[in-house]
């Protein structure tokens, strides 16, 4: 069945399964499991700090358990985002060049945003 469905050209090009999708699948599941408690904590804290002023907000971020959980949430969120949006790009961007460009921009943006978030938490926590 599998051989009958493959064209000779497709066989030469090595088209078909990339045989390395499992780690992408696992990355999404692992980050999903981690984000269930982290997202619940995060949204509860945002609600608890609705309308907070500058000093109150910074006092909250600087508290060690908050700072640690915020950094974990930021890193896990952008890891999950990076892989999630990658799936969407791979499904809907047909042009190979545009797809590659979008994936590169996505990865860079996720790393930049995660670093900016983590740095901000650390700067506030260390009293900058």
């Amino acid at each position: 069945m599998a051989d009958r469905m493959r064209s000779p050209l497709g066989q030469v090009y090595g088209l078909g399964s990339a045989r390395e999708g499992a780690k992408e699948w696992w990355a999404m599941r692992l980050s999903s499991v981690a984000l269930v408690p982290l997202a619940l904590w995060w949204v509860a804290e945002i609600i608890g700090h609705a309308g907070a002023g500058y000093v109150e907000y910074r006092t909250w971020v600087a508290n060690p358990p908050t700072a640690i959980l915020l950094i974990l949430t930021i890193v896990t969120t952008f890891y999950h985002t990076s892989h999630g949006v990658q799936e969407v790009i791979e499904d809907y961007v047909a042009h190979e060049g545009a797809k590659l460009a979008a994936l590169v921009i996505l990865r860079f943006a996720c790393v930049v945003l995660a670093v900016a978030g983590v740095f901000s938490v650390l700067a506030i926590a260390f009293g900058h």
């Binding site: 493959r6 999903s32 619940l40 969407v88 945003l113 938490v121 506030i124």
Partner: protein, 131 residues
């Protein structure tokens, strides 16, 4: 080039929209919406690390009607993606694949999303009002 007569899956448009397919699409849409939302939360942290004027400017934007509308969309997206994500994890574990359960959990996700969003806003407005 040789032509192989592979069976083709019909395109999406020929199907009648179903709860299951729409919820799958919304899982992606809410994921994309949350991606945009996280950019703003990083902005808020950066503003808090930068200084009181920057933070006040961000809070001013967040408390404007556009900001509130975006936050309502964000909470709806977050709770939907979160609860539907748990539904996906249960499927991955092999549970709830039969049609009746799939529809039941789908309806539960929608109810939970609305209830959690309303609850979140009631508490948030009480907290906000008490300041």
């Amino acid at each position: 080039m040789s032509i192989v007569n592979r069976p083709l899956s019909p395109h999406l448009e020929v199907y009648k929209p179903q709860l299951t397919s729409l919820m799958s699409i919304f899982n992606r849409l809410t994921g994309l919406a949350l991606t945009i939302g996280t950019v703003f939360f990083v902005w808020q942290l950066l503003a808090a690390a930068s200084g009181p004027e920057e933070f006040a400017a961000f809070q001013g934007l967040a408390h404007s009607w556009i900001g509130i509308a975006a936050l309502i969309g964000w909470t709806l997206s977050l709770f939907y993606h979160l609860v539907n994500g748990i539904r996906h994890l249960l499927w991955d574990a092999g549970w709830g694949f039969d049609l009746a359960t799939t529809y039941l959990t789908g309806q539960l996700v929608i109810v939970a999303t609305v209830v959690l969003t309303l609850l979140a806003w009631i508490v948030a407005l009480i907290v906000w009002g008490a300041r």
